[in-house]
Symmetry: C2
Subunit: 420 residues, 2 copies
Amino acid sequence: MNNPRELLLAMYTAAIDAASAARCLPAFLPAPPENGRTLVIGAGKGAAAMASVVEGHWQGDLEGLVVTRYGHGADCSRIEVVEAAHPVPDEAGRAAAARMLRMVQGLNENDLVLCLISGGGSALLALPAEGIALEQKQALNRALLKSGATIAEINCVRKHLSAIKGGRLALTCVPARVVTLLISDVPGDDPGIIASGPTLPDPTTCADALAILRKYRIDIPPAIERHLVSGDGETPKPDDPRFARNAHHVIANAQQALEAAAQVARAAGIEPHILSDRIEGEARDVGAVHAAIARQIAQHGQPFKKPCVLLSGGETTVTVRGKGRGGRNAEFLLSLATALDGCPGIHAIACDTDGIDGSEDNAGATCQPDSIACAERLGLRARAMLDDNDGYGFFSALGDLVVSGPTRTNVNDFRAVLIL
Amino acid sequence: MNNPRELLLAMYTAAIDAASAARCLPAFLPAPPENGRTLVIGAGKGAAAMASVVEGHWQGDLEGLVVTRYGHGADCSRIEVVEAAHPVPDEAGRAAAARMLRMVQGLNENDLVLCLISGGGSALLALPAEGIALEQKQALNRALLKSGATIAEINCVRKHLSAIKGGRLALTCVPARVVTLLISDVPGDDPGIIASGPTLPDPTTCADALAILRKYRIDIPPAIERHLVSGDGETPKPDDPRFARNAHHVIANAQQALEAAAQVARAAGIEPHILSDRIEGEARDVGAVHAAIARQIAQHGQPFKKPCVLLSGGETTVTVRGKGRGGRNAEFLLSLATALDGCPGIHAIACDTDGIDGSEDNAGATCQPDSIACAERLGLRARAMLDDNDGYGFFSALGDLVVSGPTRTNVNDFRAVLIL
């Protein structure tokens, strides 16, 4: 490895490869049904890539429809791929969700539904429950994304306003068997949370959804309040007998991606330490804690000897207060760089494994010991830009963005802090 | 060790002992002056304990005055001990600061001033600069403490509104030599930040102080704005030749305390891992990150094998949004417990090493795997109480507060997360 940035980028690439459908999916394909049809459905940033791998390996007939994000499509000949908007749903996603629901109606018990789920599916498969307008769901979604709510909380709300999420899609498939393959982008890999679990039962309730909206002081339109208070939005629960024949498998997750990055580090003679595959919290505070641990290593050789690399996954949140640009990975990294304040020998990368950090065109960014000093020479004040949530602006000016384009998988954030 | 809570409490006790004046101070006492007087001055939660140790070891005459927090006094026969209010200054502190300034006027170059500084000294040694009312400083102080500003930021503001901080006390001692002994309660142990550095030069400026007040949207009274804009509040800088003969020593810090706790763990057969002595950030997010690392250990045996204990120091902050009671350690711990959500085998303690968490009567608290479940049986909802910043209420109801009383030292937060 010629330089630290190259090593960090190689770790990121290895993390994505390890979580790709091509690598992970084939081993989990069920046997084709003997006397029934196979329908492939799905949603998420990796859904088209997953569908393409299914087509390449499936023995027998199949047909189907998957929804992915604009730009995340992949070549499929038998499964239709629809692209739609993320993170705020649009009409393309709504129409595809409605068609998907119709497609799985009237199946019989010999049929198989193969459901391909990955992160982003929640926004892509947006079909409001009866009586709720898409615009209302969109506005609520925007408010939730800005509020600092966790992804589990956001998805709990989404499930109870949807005609398809929280197990409703699987209910429509009854009596066919549903096998769900999931690429997990949620801390803890709970399959019912990934993409709001359209084919999995849901332990959360309408009351939980209401409490979350109130907690973050989100304006609740009357139609939505009625829907939640009346219980019309209630989801099928885990003991529902109609789910008994179904199965699900998490085929890729953050831990696999981190382990792959660890292998790259080890091969380069750098000892890897996986802190956690499920770190949550405000991106700036998570950055400050990573910085504090990195400084301890640099100064005291604790809890690890250098050279080493700290790896972590999970999903941070950004409570937007400023007017800058950038996703949670840029925010994490700018906070880390600010807290390190030029501490020698520490380099880092933070990228979304889906290739898109928030709603920008970058996957994330890298930083190095002189990032803050270089920025100052350009007239940029790191702390002020962090306060303005302008991580994208900061790393863009330094030429340190990581631009990978859509990776067609999604196991959430990838962070590596290299202490030399 | 009979049980996990007992082990955690023993680690906390060892941490405090390792940072006590009795243990740390004697080795750093300078030689008495040959032909001059010795004046002992100082401020902080440990100032009276430090003065008492000086009296016990000093060869020769001495006299002086130190200010400590109400309830943190210690027996001294030659050095006067004044108690005053913390964290919001009061008249007792103001009067003591004014007397201290007068006491060190008119010294000669043979005299020695021994200055005993520890955390809390910043609020205890509050003497507003000319033209600024104590009430204005108090109001600003309260607003800063609630704003989420870091302690370095709060102290930068304090230094530029003070007649005694940021090196001004040492300027008054000129031409006497000043030796400052410090117990560090600040992440990174920068001696100029501890108690706002009354005897140390200050690299920060009036412009920095203004920027901090604006960043946190604090109302700035006109008199204070004039003082900062005019440069009247400027502090002596590090290249000031009048500081050339002075010396300072950090005699105790978080790292020493953590190392002592690590010894206790090791003796109990539990491998200790010091994550960092300088963790900063919102207490709830820092708690979430500790929980994520603990879960990784429990689930994957990474980055450490269990049984082990994670140790960390530093100073978190709480941005108060709710109406509950509790300091940053209770908030950290409630967030940790909430994120762990009953994960088996994980116990933790979080306490302030000064014995007082925020403005309550406890040092902190402990939690265990069934804390959340026990609370639910009492009708308490952990997440709602965290949102209300009510860590004290939560752990008080469970009987899990740690009440040590004032420890008369202060090396900041102490956290231990035990994974069995």
